[in-house]
């Protein structure tokens, strides 16, 4: 019994409260209200997902037909009826060389997803074999003071995801370490606030592309002597700079708008400045800081794709760009797979932040 209570609490805590309905279904504690909740929280979303896939399928089919008709029509006028007939049979047979290039259907996307996974398994096996093969050699190389031989093969789709996550977390941490302390200083001192205000107002709306170019100009010169690939450095710094503004503004606001009662308490207790900041000001502005961090993380994930694409830094952004340039038969489907993966990871990151936020902050609405 205790187990199920904690399960319910946990699911609610991470913002997946609707899962508890499923639990009730299995424990047999279902009442009428639960049934309505079940309909609303499980059946309705599932139905809407099915509807979405259905509409997508029909839309893709229509686009496919338009494209196919156009191709056949063109063959007829350019090359004559024989060529048109050949093309028609070719399209109908499903031959990959003559398929119309348009929005892929759900089943094509699913196939591409499976093929990407297969591809990953092959690459992973290849990599493992390579590491095994070079293990002994690398040991002697390291003993001789040489660099170890690393696997330089093509990264798989899953590798790209992890690389993107790495970039986004590096950027997020950069934003955290710049924006939170700076926000605290700005919030505490009206002088600093007016000194930084123009800076925030002007740079906040700047587009990710421009941030990338700016970071590129600076990092390129700084790393001029280094042989290392600077694309990762450039992309994570750009992501951090793009996304830090929400945290900066929210922290400054949270710190400058601490309840006057708490400040009075700090004064009456004669807390020192350090104590006042860490025991009163920061805890009371924590909810706002976390709201800022949540926005920062989602913005970071959003701009990451564009920045990876520009920086040619391996990751989902580059994957999308390369598939688009590639123009292979299943490229469009792979792009859609990447789109869903990006969306789902973004959603999970948001939930992660929400969980941390619930965990560290008190409920401001109830507090007096």
């Amino acid at each position: 019994m205790k187990q199920s209570i904690t399960l319910g609490k946990v699911t609610k805590f991470i913002g997946l409260g609707f899962l508890s309905t499923i639990k009730d279904l299995f424990t047999g504690k279902l009442e009428k209200q639960d049934f309505i909740n079940f309909l609303r929280k499980i059946v309705v979303p599932l139905a809407s997902i099915l509807l979405f896939i259905g509409l997508w399928h029909m839309g893709a089919k229509t686009l496919y037909n338009i494209e196919a008709d156009f191709k056949i029509e063109k063959a007829l006028t350019d090359q004559g009826p024989a060529a048109a007939d050949a093309l028609r049979t070719c399209i109908a047979s499903g031959e990959s060389s003559c398929q119309p290039n348009t929005l892929p259907s759900p089943s094509q996307v699913w196939d591409s997803y499976k093929s990407l996974l297969r591809d990953h398994n092959i690459i992973a096996a290849d990599k493992a074999a390579f590491i095994e093969k070079t293990a002994a050699l690398n040991e002697t190389r390291i003993a001789d003071g040489l660099d170890a031989i690393t696997y330089t093969g093509r990264p798989s789709f899953v590798d790209q995801i992890f690389r993107s996550l790495k970039t986004v977390f590096a950027g997020f941490l950069l934003a955290l370490f710049i924006a939170v302390p700076l926000g605290i200083f700005i919030g505490l001192s009206p002088t600093l606030k007016s000194a930084f205000n123009w800076f925030i107002q002007i740079f906040k709306p700047v587009s990710p592309v421009v941030w990338y170019l700016l970071v590129f100009m600076i990092v390129k010169t700084l790393l001029i002597d280094s042989n290392e690939d600077s694309s990762f450095t450039i992309s994570f710094i750009s992501v951090g700079l793009c996304s830090m503004w929400a945290t900066l503004v929210n922290t400054a606001m949270g710190v400058s708008s601490v309840d006057k009662d708490y400040i009075n308490v700090a004064k009456v207790l004669k807390l020192g400045n350090f104590q006042k900041i860490f025991k009163v000001v920061l805890p009371s502005s924590l909810p706002l800081i976390f709201t800022g961090l949540k926005i920062t993380l989602s913005v970071a994930w959003m701009v990451l794709i564009a920045i990876e694409l520009l920086a040619q830094s391996p990751g989902l952004g580059l994957f999308v760009w390369e598939e688009f340039q590639n123009g292979a038969n299943d490229s469009n489907a792979k792009i859609i797979v990447a789109m869903f993966v990006i969306g789902i990871i973004g959603f999970l990151l948001d939930r992660l932040m929400l969980t941390i936020q619930n965990w560290v902050s008190f409920d401001k609405t109830d507090a007096i």
Binding site: D261, Y262, V268, L271, Q275, V280, P283, F362, D363, I368
Partner: protein, 282 residues
């Protein structure tokens, strides 16, 4: 020399044309060990007066002397109980008290500090709730924590700014007794600000009405000659109590009326009558 002395205090807010004088010509003397209540209407400047005494505000003119020394900023010698509890919501009851105790006695060891915290939490009978956060407590319990926090710093004077204002009548009565009990143990000097005349009479040695602001000033003092410990039910039949109570209320009512008649500016309402729908459509 009085323990706490307010000499010709003036306090204004704002500048230039927007300047309003909240307090004017406040003179007050409180002796050591005395329990003084200041009674006034809401918005008469009571909280401003309290903040001048505890050092959160500085007077525009005049001086506040505490033990002969001018008050400069807050001090651990003057403990404050705020009207709205002002507990830190992210700390538990124990942590709220601990924070205050640690500031008041920085040299004591952690163990000693924890003992003090436990003692004072016990004193306000909140030991079972020591690990709860303020939002899990009722209003009365929160105010008890605030009382424990103020007293645990062992202040020489307790300043209470409408401490029971937000509580229901029953809880109010209980807490009045608790505060009096604690006060009775070592007879610290106490200043109570309240809007409840009965509360003032029940708790204090002297009651001083505050004439409502702007330009609020203190009225004539009323001495309460009732034996301690006082009993609420007996008090209601006590002729002395009735007399004092009526006198104070009469005084407060009078100044209330005075203010109304001073307010000569009349608002002229436009003459309106309901539209004559019946005749309009005939």
């Amino acid at each position: 020399m009085a323990y706490l002395e307010l000499n010709n205090i003036y306090k204004t807010y704002g500048q230039g044309e927007n300047e309003t004088e909240v307090l004017s010509n406040i003179n007050l003397k409180i002796e050591e060990g005395e329990f003084v209540a200041i009674v006034g209407f809401t918005g008469s400047g009571k909280t401003t007066l309290v903040n001048l005494i505890n050092g959160l505000l500085e007077p525009t003119k005049g001086e506040v002397l505490f033990k002969g020394q001018p008050v400069q900023g807050t001090s651990h010698e003057r403990g404050v109980i705020f009207q709205n509890y002002s507990l830190l919501p992210w700390l538990t009851v124990g942590q709220n008290v601990y924070m205050a105790v640690k500031e008041a006695f920085p040299k004591k060891s952690k163990k000693e500090l924890n003992e003090i915290v436990a003692n004072y939490v016990e004193m306000v009978s909140l030991t079972p709730a020591i690990n709860k956060r303020p939002k899990e407590l009722s209003g009365g319990m929160r105010q008890r924590v605030a009382v424990a926090r103020a007293l645990a710093m062992k202040p020489e004077m307790i300043i209470m700014d409408e401490p029971l204002g937000a509580l229901d009548a029953l809880t109010r009565g209980n807490l009045q007794d608790e505060i009096l009990n604690i006060w009775g143990k070592d007879k610290r000097t106490a200043l109570l600000i309240t809007n409840d005349v009965d509360e003032g009479i029940y708790m204090a040695d002297r009651i001083i009405p505050l004439r409502p602001g702007p330009n609020a000033t203190l009225g004539p003092e009323f001495k309460i000659d009732l034996e301690r410990p006082r009993d609420k039910t007996e008090m209601n039949d006590n002729a002395n109590f009735k007399e004092t109570r009526n006198a104070i209320i009469e005084y407060l009512m009078d100044i209330g009326d005075e203010r109304k008649s001073e307010n000569k500016e009349q608002i002229i309402l436009p003459e309106l009558s309901p539209k004559d729908f019946v005749n309009q459509f005939k």
